[in-house]
Symmetry: C2
Subunit: 476 residues, 2 copies
Amino acid sequence: MAASVPISKTIYLGAFAHCISLANLEICARGAIGVDEQGLIQFVEKEISSPSDVTTKHPSWASAQIVSVDDGFFFPGFIDTHTHAPQHPNTGLFGKTTLLDWLETYTFPLEASFEDTRKAGRIYGNFVARTLSHGTTTCAYYATRHVEATNLLTEICLERGQRALVGRVCMDRLSPEYYRDADIESAIRDSKACIDYARKVDEKGEIVRPVVTPRFAPSCTAPCLAELGKLAREEGAFVQTHISENTGECELVKEWFPESESYTHVYDEAALLTERTILAHAIHLSKEERRLIKERGSKISHCPASNTALTSGCCPVRELLDEGITVGLGTDVSGGVSPSILEEARHAIWTSRFVAMSAPSAPVATLNNAAKLSTAEALYLATRGGAAVVGLEEKIGGFDVGKEFDAQMIRLGSVPEAGDYEGTFGDEGAGGPVDIFGFESPEEKVEKWVYSGDDRNCAAVWVRGRLVHKTARYKV
Amino acid sequence: MAASVPISKTIYLGAFAHCISLANLEICARGAIGVDEQGLIQFVEKEISSPSDVTTKHPSWASAQIVSVDDGFFFPGFIDTHTHAPQHPNTGLFGKTTLLDWLETYTFPLEASFEDTRKAGRIYGNFVARTLSHGTTTCAYYATRHVEATNLLTEICLERGQRALVGRVCMDRLSPEYYRDADIESAIRDSKACIDYARKVDEKGEIVRPVVTPRFAPSCTAPCLAELGKLAREEGAFVQTHISENTGECELVKEWFPESESYTHVYDEAALLTERTILAHAIHLSKEERRLIKERGSKISHCPASNTALTSGCCPVRELLDEGITVGLGTDVSGGVSPSILEEARHAIWTSRFVAMSAPSAPVATLNNAAKLSTAEALYLATRGGAAVVGLEEKIGGFDVGKEFDAQMIRLGSVPEAGDYEGTFGDEGAGGPVDIFGFESPEEKVEKWVYSGDDRNCAAVWVRGRLVHKTARYKV
């Protein structure tokens, strides 16, 4: 499998960019990153005058392989902290529904069909290839309630070398009878089976880790949630679930958990609110709930594209960040319509602007400029923020000595003097969707990539120094 | 030039889709459209059982050329009712600015550099090729204040065969001295020169038409606006300008035109509010202003992507439509970050959802479902709506007998049984960004294209039956 292929020492030569803090994107136009046989970053040179500079400084790297980029830059791999692999075939199908009728109409019937493992293999194979092609090197996946299909997703991620959290989805109510755990015992037994499988095929969890996955509070009875909390503790496993996405859902939780002080308390009472918990959406939380989440050290996955498509609401991300909560981005396919974290970063920026224009249709809106996310901040959420959400902040998220090399090579091309490409737009090799005229600063090139780039610009992708995706534009 | 190339009678065979009313998207899975040597649609068959069916019904077409699509559908060409061709190199560069500081920082310096005609040629050539590649068959362009560069844009559109309105931008104040019309006389003389040129190279205006283009009220003194109104009337020309985009701009208009009842009245008093007037943005208009626009028969270009990026506001499109105002979509590059009307249609849908969630950060938002645009409605704005905005509703916008054939061939590919494409995502020929699994209905295929498609799916583009763009995926 890709993750354990032996690799040779490699120097990644050329421009690179990464986030060094929430507000600061560092761009080095003439950089060099040395990655050893284990995929660890051994040196980072930020300003070299020539390639020989590097080997003069690091003589033991004289015979290292060179991978260079001259019309773009290296960027850390993206981290998708929340998505549903089985829902991928429903991408773009949602009409005017909101969360609860959307689940009933589109989601449950499709997920239930993953009883068919062959179908699951085709869809999962396709989706993992898609997310990799968009530069996603780590992905927190929801699977379905089926043990066999969930284990297949684990295998595919391991085989392709994409870091993943893979969760078998638990639910003992709300969903239709044809797609529900028969009882708590079987829910726990099946979840345990998926955890065991993941730990068998990847003992140290270097690539794939299991994650305890109650769909969300309305889908699970209180005793079921409590047993899942116990399981997560016993297994030392991550937890992922949804919280406070839709106002109808919030009402349901109030009604079905009358003893609990809040939605957040429902999870806390089941011991599901841990340092290893990823809560998706978190739109309609009270200040008190956010305080509790902060106190417990739980993390939040912000899914703006999905929240807009299903009119769930606008998550006030800036407030979460100001309160010190750890936030990453989630594509939330198929609530979200794209498997691309780059596209999600754009949506995070747009949503922050809608928050800034809080009363959008008022004749004279007063802008709340503080609510706006900058390009740098959106990229931080997509990389270091996401790494912290999935508990890998020591290993990935940026180009630091000692971290593992999870990266993408971004190529941008350049507009020919004649202007057009003689009708070759839309074809491979024609420069992709970003038009670089030659008068852009390094900062402006990154901005252009963020606002108009797509998978065509992602020429190659590495996880732990292993090449896990490339296009015809990647030439060593 | 492409527009006058002789063509042979052609039958476009396969699925097609188009909007037959604001709410209704018609999808014919087994269609045939007959286009004659003039590029006119002579027949539309909505349900054929076999290709021979067509020639049995239309024997004189037995030797016609056949262009067929089997993994997608034909769709009317898109109409972009508002964009700025010279601003294309600034795409993605806007930071956290809003309209007035954005103009000062990014726009005016770039536009001023179009004094250099060689630079203009490169950028215009690139941009026209880009918009064509996204299926835009008609485009309302703002150029700059330079006569020579503006005439070059006219030539390029004519040469490439893209229908266009091309406007020399007028402004006798607000912009810096280095980029301003010296006086009203020269503003009118230069505008007239561009009108004359367009009418010389395309006498009947079949492809390119001139358009009188005051940038917007704050950029023009009242006498200048009045002279431009007079010029438009004398020339029987279209008018395009901006209105009520940003609250700071609205305040400025109030201050600089104290005698006028409203922003809309400023244009009306200058005789610029005509049936041939395209007003971009129209976000913060009063009901009275909208009534006046409706009464004058002026049209509105909705530019949601730009309005979000520059936090200008959310145009309440549903209200405009309910009031009977004609609306189309505009990419508004480089306020907007994409030259694609498909992307703009998505933004129109997202913006309508933000309007629906009118108090986005409130803990319990009440949804205004009536504000949501459907997929069909967004596509209507992108085609028939846009056609009516640019005065071509009798000629283009849908597949009706007697209309000219402006169309795009959408190809979708299909996911192989093995799921992934062996790492070929991002390359040409790998199916593009839309994943079709084979269980989708024709309606669902269109939805998938709208929400995840891009220029890779636009295999070929025709204007008046002439092929004006194709990719390697287009095989006759």
